[in-house]
């Protein structure tokens, strides 16, 4: 870390007195002396030390474990095995089913979250009585941990005494109770419904914030030009918030991918490992003590996410420039 040292007291940036100009503190270049530099280092040090020791060190030591035979139950042989762990992962009969589940889990949760969240945000954009209270209620799911959401929905999807079956039967949709968490297809549906319940709020809030930053003049201009609701939506609303929407989706994809809590609580990956996604599977392997294989899977997760983020950003950027 090098800093511009100068034996002068901290001087206010020249920009600060610029008339009418908006001051951006993050962008201002500052000159500071060695003493200030030391203070800054001291300010940054605790954060760097904590994150370094407890986040980065285990990650780095874990990545070398991925290439080793490393089983907690038998530590007599921890030799290097090259890509052996990866190979045994890829060859496991359940692995590709788990990859497919992960995609279903991410896409199946994300799309309804975006669509419902968008609709809620559009409806909430215009002020109405009790809007504040409504938003506060919408916040509910956020206070609940992933694990508890899983438990809540596990109870509601209970085959015998669950409220979901009861309501569906009362409505005449089904004649006999569905064994929700005992059938792979139904179980997958149930965990995704739980995840949608949790995630809509996030999109509603982020999209609402973005919508509120679009100036009213644009809408007024569109109305003057006689644009209808649908055209206004596609030609003004959507392009104006495209960047925020894209970044929010990117963050959420990564986050849903990394969100094993609901599944862990609702099905534990069952029945018969049919609802595992990559991260729940990784936790299962870790709990079994095979740290080598778990680390290999961890590396796969990290690389996949990085590649996804890179491709996604590349795909999104040109559209932004077109505007």
């Amino acid at each position: 870390m090098s800093v511009e040292t100068k034996n002068a007291p901290v001087r206010p940036s020249p920009r600060r007195d610029a008339p009418g100009g908006e001051r951006r503190s993050s962008g201002t270049k500052r000159r500071f002396n060695a003493r200030t530099a030391l203070t800054l280092l001291a300010f940054l040090a605790p954060a760097a030390i904590f994150v370094g020791i407890f986040t980065y060190y285990p990650m780095i030591s874990g990545s070398q474990m991925a290439f080793r035979n490393w089983n907690l139950n038998d530590l007599s042989d921890t030799s290097w095995v090259g890509f052996g762990n990866f190979q045994s992962l890829f060859e496991a009969p359940e692995f590709w089913g788990i990859v497919r589940n992960t995609v279903v889990w991410v896409v199946g949760s994300l799309v309804p979250q975006v669509v419902i969240g968008f609709a809620v945000a559009l409806y909430l954009k215009r002020r109405f009585r009790m809007r504040g209270a409504y938003q506060a209620f919408l916040f509910f799911p956020w206070a609940v941990s992933g694990f508890l959401i899983g438990m809540l929905f596990r109870w509601m999807f209970n085959a015998e005494f669950g409220v979901v079956n009861d309501l569906l039967m009362k409505a005449g949709v089904i004649d006999s109770p569905i064994p929700w968490l005992a059938e792979p297809g139904f179980a997958m549906t149930a965990i995704i419904i739980a995840n949608i319940w949790y995630g809509v709020t996030f999109f509603a809030i982020m999209i609402l914030a973005a919508l509120q930053s679009v100036s009213d003049e644009m809408y007024e201009a569109a109305a003057l030009d006689g644009a209808g609701k649908v055209r206004t939506f596609f030609n003004i609303t959507l392009p104006s918030i495209a960047t925020t929407l894209a970044l929010t989706i990117l963050l959420r994809v990564i986050w849903i991918f990394n969100f094993p809590d609901i599944i862990f609580a609702m099905t534990g990956g069952g029945p018969a490992d049919q609802t595992h996604i990559i991260t729940t599977y990784m936790i299962k392997i870790t709990q079994e003590g095979d740290y080598g294989k778990a680390s290999a899977l961890g590396l796969i997760v990290v690389v996949t996410l990085m590649l996804f983020a890179a491709f996604y950003l590349m795909a999104v950027r040109p559209r932004k420039a077109q505007r």
């Binding site: 020791i53 109870w155 005494f161």
Partner: protein, 278 residues
């Protein structure tokens, strides 16, 4: 014609928002109702949507048959200490990142952002080994240290956004008046951006209160278990006692619900400010 359309629009809006509200609130209503039923009534058909007989038996059983009181205390200690320390440390780092240009600033931000993409449990095994080297397995101190590290990156990013909304003339004036930089930060800046600091603290607190996989891996004695770990233990037995489970769920959710109800406005500000600025 136009009137008909706008009435239909208004009706669909009300219906849609009402359905969303119902769907949001119902699971919580259901778990609360379940927890207040008599243990026998939970497993009886037809289901009772509006029980006339309310009972606290599940709650009493939770505290007498398990160490739930102890788990709550453990969670409270771990979450309070970890989120307080993490917020103070993040104030320092966020201040530097918001106010100064230096080589390596981008790298520090990048290092923090990367941790947001990678889940805390990615290196569960190595972390367990490291903690056992330190002698910190099944220790509240160990869990607190890890939670601090997990909270710092996002908290720093969030607080940096709040710092950028405060003019730097404030602390410059304080420093000209003889305040040290640290003094200016905590006596002048922090009071000004208190809502933001409170939101960051709350965010940390709720995350620590709810964290599952690290505590499941590291904690195993009743004296040290946090609530999520204890609840995960409830399900590993073959039959889940839904009476106790629903009571425990309600007791776990209520504190965070209350906190969020008070602070949701600030948290939304913090989240949206941070994300829009990147």
């Amino acid at each position: 014609m136009i009137n008909k359309v706008s009435i239909a629009g208004r009706v669909s809006k009300v219906v849609f928002l009402a359905l969303c509200l119902l769907a949001t609130v119902f699971p919580l209503y259901w778990i609360i109702i379940t927890s207040l039923k008599e243990p026998g009534a939970i497993y009886s058909l037809p289901l009772d949507y509006w029980p006339r007989q309310l009972s606290l038996e599940n709650y009493i059983g939770l505290f007498t048959k398990s160490d739930f009181g102890q788990y709550m205390v453990n969670s409270l200690i771990v979450a309070t200490v970890a989120s307080t320390v993490a917020t103070v440390i993040s104030l320092l780092s966020a201040y530097v990142l918001a106010r100064f240009q230096f080589a390596g600033r981008g790298a520090v931000m990048g290092a923090f952002l990367v941790t947001q993409m990678i889940p805390g449990f990615i290196a569960l095994g190595p972390l367990y080994l490291m903690m056992s080297d330190f002698g910190l397995v099944d220790s509240k101190t160990g869990l607190i240290l890890i939670y601090i590290a997990i909270c710092i990156p996002f908290c720093t990013i969030m607080l940096r956004g709040f710092f950028e909304n405060v003019p730097d003339a404030l602390e410059e004036a304080a420093m000209i008046d003889g305040c040290s930089r640290l003094g200016a930060l905590f006596r002048v800046l922090v009071p000004v951006m208190l809502p933001g600091v409170a939101a960051s603290f709350i965010f940390n607190f709720v995350n620590c209160w709810n964290e599952l996989f690290l505590s499941v891996t590291l904690m195993n004695s009743d004296a040290n278990k946090t609530i999520p770990t204890a609840l995960a233990g409830f399900i590993s037995s073959f039959n889940i006692d839904w009476g106790s489970m629903s009571a425990a769920a309600v007791l776990t959710v209520v504190p965070t619900l209350v906190i969020f109800a008070f602070a949701s406005k600030f948290i939304v500000q913090g989240l949206t400010a941070g994300s829009v600025k990147g």
